[in-house]
Amino acid sequence: MTERYRIPILRDKLKVSSILPGIVGDLRPFSAPEKNMIPLGFPKKLEEGWQQKAFGIFKKILDNNKALKVFMDICVRCGACSDKCQFFLGSGDIYNTPVGRAELLRKVYRYYFTNLKGEPFSENLLKKWMSYFYQCSECRRCAYFCPYGIDTAEITMAARKIMHEIGLGVKYITDSINKVLTIGNNIGLTTKALKSTINDLEEELKEDTGKDIKIPLDEVGAEVLLVPPSADFFAMPHMESLIGYAKVFYKSGISYTVSSYASEGANFAMFIGDYELTKALNKRIWDEAKRLKVKRVVIGECGHAWRAAYCYSNAMNGPFNFLDNHFQQPQHICEFTLDIMNKGLIKLDKSANDDKIITYHDSCNPARATKMGNVVGGQFEIPRQLLSKVANKIVEMDAAANRERTFCCGAGAGLLADEIMQVRINGAYPKVNAINNVMKSHRVNTVAMICAICKTQFNTILPYYGLDRDMVVGIHQLISNAIVL
């Protein structure tokens, strides 16, 4: 399987092999079929006069998004961001530098909105857009390093929004959005299927532990609404984390429920910068919390779901002011668990994880976009505190590739599609490199994380780099191992 792809070489120090403009310009995701586009209100395909339409959408976004408006003007092309993007480091394509990518939109901006030299919309340009705006995981690493805070993720979102509005959609992303809108989650698990998976899990738990650990579904009046990413219901190693949540709730004595209507924490509409759809997906959680009369909302292990809930909810659907006074904002599962542990409600046996030497991967959405536990830096400290409570051997990765400077797993923002495996391999390179380095220096054999996409991505990508896919675990999986029931 490896020979079909170009695999960057892992080294002690990151190095870009050679710079070649356009070398990965033919990598693109599958475009969305008509049946995906129409229900979302997008045209089914590129139609006569799309240039006019695209201009209109562009203008509308500029008028309503300060970030885009400012960022279009003020980039000085200093190049400080140009060696910071994992997709550039993995491919060496200059269009994959944040500034190079942004230039694809910026030149259109200059053409229509300024007197400077630019370029009008053309089919040729759209081809480049389709490629390079889907080689960005909206991770904001570039924004962290840009002297003006220029966030290329916002630029990518705008370009994707324009493309969708003129009929150029992406199959994987529109699939997921449609499934949430019709069924309730990205993968289309119906209530029935959900019920039977949960039953299986409960039985398994009973067999393993001898305890009646429940995962309640759609229970009105529970104290907590738990919204995990849907992958936690069916994928591996994600399910292990779901088991972890269940055990924590069991020990905490706090009643909780998952919901079939809001069985998805992820919000793929955010990835294409569509305000309305993002809001609609977000509202499902908000509505369900109201309907089930819960006192708080807790989000599971998912990077951008946490961002969507933490940063977007208030602005989009209004505050969660119907929740308990102390929890007027969704909580992260890690913050919830840590709280329970600090109250001494859980007994832990660290030695259960003694076969593992663990390193922690900071997912970029929590790392650069949100806080956690309402403390500054909580998104870094809370997961680490959890880890230190449940395991003995923990090793930090190179700080230049982790914490607020973390490299993305390479598949965020809707890139987790199989047809763009090469893009994912390129994007994963710097992070895998950092992981490989601690493997060599400290014999690390486990990578813990709190993001569903990261888990799936590493699970698929590590073998291409010759590493073991079973290294990937969720934090609550480790907690699950260590809990004494």
């Binding site: 710079i19 959408i57 509308k60 500029l62 008028d63 309503n64 998004n65 300060k66 970030a67 408006k69 400012v70 960022f71 003007d73 003020i74 980039c75 000085v76 092309r77 200093c78 190049g79 400080a80 140009s82 200059i94 530098t97 500034v99 190079g100 230039e103 300024t114 007197n115 400077l116 030299k117 904001r140 924004a143 962290y144 390093f145 840009c146 002297p147 003006y148 805070g149 220029i150 966030d151 305000y275 309305e276 809001k279 940063c311 977007y312 208030n314 602005a315 989009m316 209004g318 505050p319 002011n321 007027q328 790392a367 650069r368 976009a369 949100t370 806080k371 500054v376 830096g377 998104q379």
Partner: protein, 258 residues
């Protein structure tokens, strides 16, 4: 207006136009950036939680170019030197002008005035050299070479020419020449400010210097140089991470359907 010669007439007119274009252009951009709404909070780690924190972050970023320091040390050094010396040279021009006015009334120039010229020369050299570095970067660092556009080179070359023509007033002509045009020069500017007009000194180096500056000021509001305004409005840096504030703002009612 007819007591002045034709060239001076042209310069006076263009100077006023430039003033209007520059001021209006900058204010226009300022207002646009200020008025465009930002609905979702996209603040970036390490995000401050209070207004005060936002000001601290903003100021340290502007005064010390802190973010650039994190990302590229060499570039930070060069651009920091450039920005500092650029500000210093503006200050020097201003000081020279007022001390000259102040002193020349009495007939002889003070010690302070006399050291301002060599200081200006040194600062000007720093401006020039750092600009050269910035330009070379665009040719010799491969990544930066690829991302550079015509306008990037244009601005650097324009600034370099301004620096060069300014410096050559001191280098390429005898000191006496410079002292000769000073009274005329200051007279010209004083009159310009008070909406009276007088002849501009017809010294070729000075005219080149002045013309290029007029070009720069006209171009500035519409180019990337507007970053000095834009940076204050970058939503990644200028908002606090505070959800109770979001609730108060009531964004959800004004939320656009895009």
């Amino acid at each position: 207006m007819f007591h002045i010669n034709f060239i001076s007439f042209i310069y006076v007119v263009i100077s006023y136009i430039t003033f209007v274009v520059f001021v209006c252009g900058v204010i226009y951009k300022f207002l646009i950036y200020m008025k465009t709404p930002q609905f979702v909070n996209i603040v970036l780690t390490p995000s401050p939680t209070s207004r005060k924190g936002v000001y601290c972050r903003m100021l340290s970023n502007i005064i010390f170019l802190r973010t650039l320091f994190k990302s590229d040390k060499f570039l930070w050094l060069i651009s920091y030197l450039f920005h500092l010396s650029f500000l210093a040279i503006l200050l020097q021009h201003f000081l020279r002008h007022i001390t000259f006015d102040f002193n020349s009334a009495g007939g002889n120039l003070s010690y302070f005035y006399n050291i301002l010229l060599p200081i200006g020369f040194i600062i000007g050299l720093v401006v020039f050299v750092t600009l050269l570095f910035l330009l070379f970067r665009r040719f010799f660092i491969e990544r930066v070479k690829y991302i550079s556009l015509f306008q990037d080179h244009f601005i650097l070359i324009l600034l370099l020419s301004i620096a060069l023509s300014g410096l050559s007033q001191v280098v390429f002509q005898p000191v006496g020449e410079l002292n000769k045009i000073m009274p005329e020069l200051d007279h010209y500017f004083n009159n310009l400010i008070t909406l009276k007009t007088s002849n501009i000194p017809l010294n070729p180096y000075f005219l080149l210097h002045y013309t290029l500056i007029l070009v720069l000021l006209n171009y500035l509001p519409f180019s990337k140089l507007i970053h000095f305004i834009g940076v204050i409005f970058a939503p990644t840096l200028n908002r606090e991470d505070n959800f109770s504030l979001e609730n108060k703002l009531g964004m959800q009612d004004k939320y656009p359907t895009l």
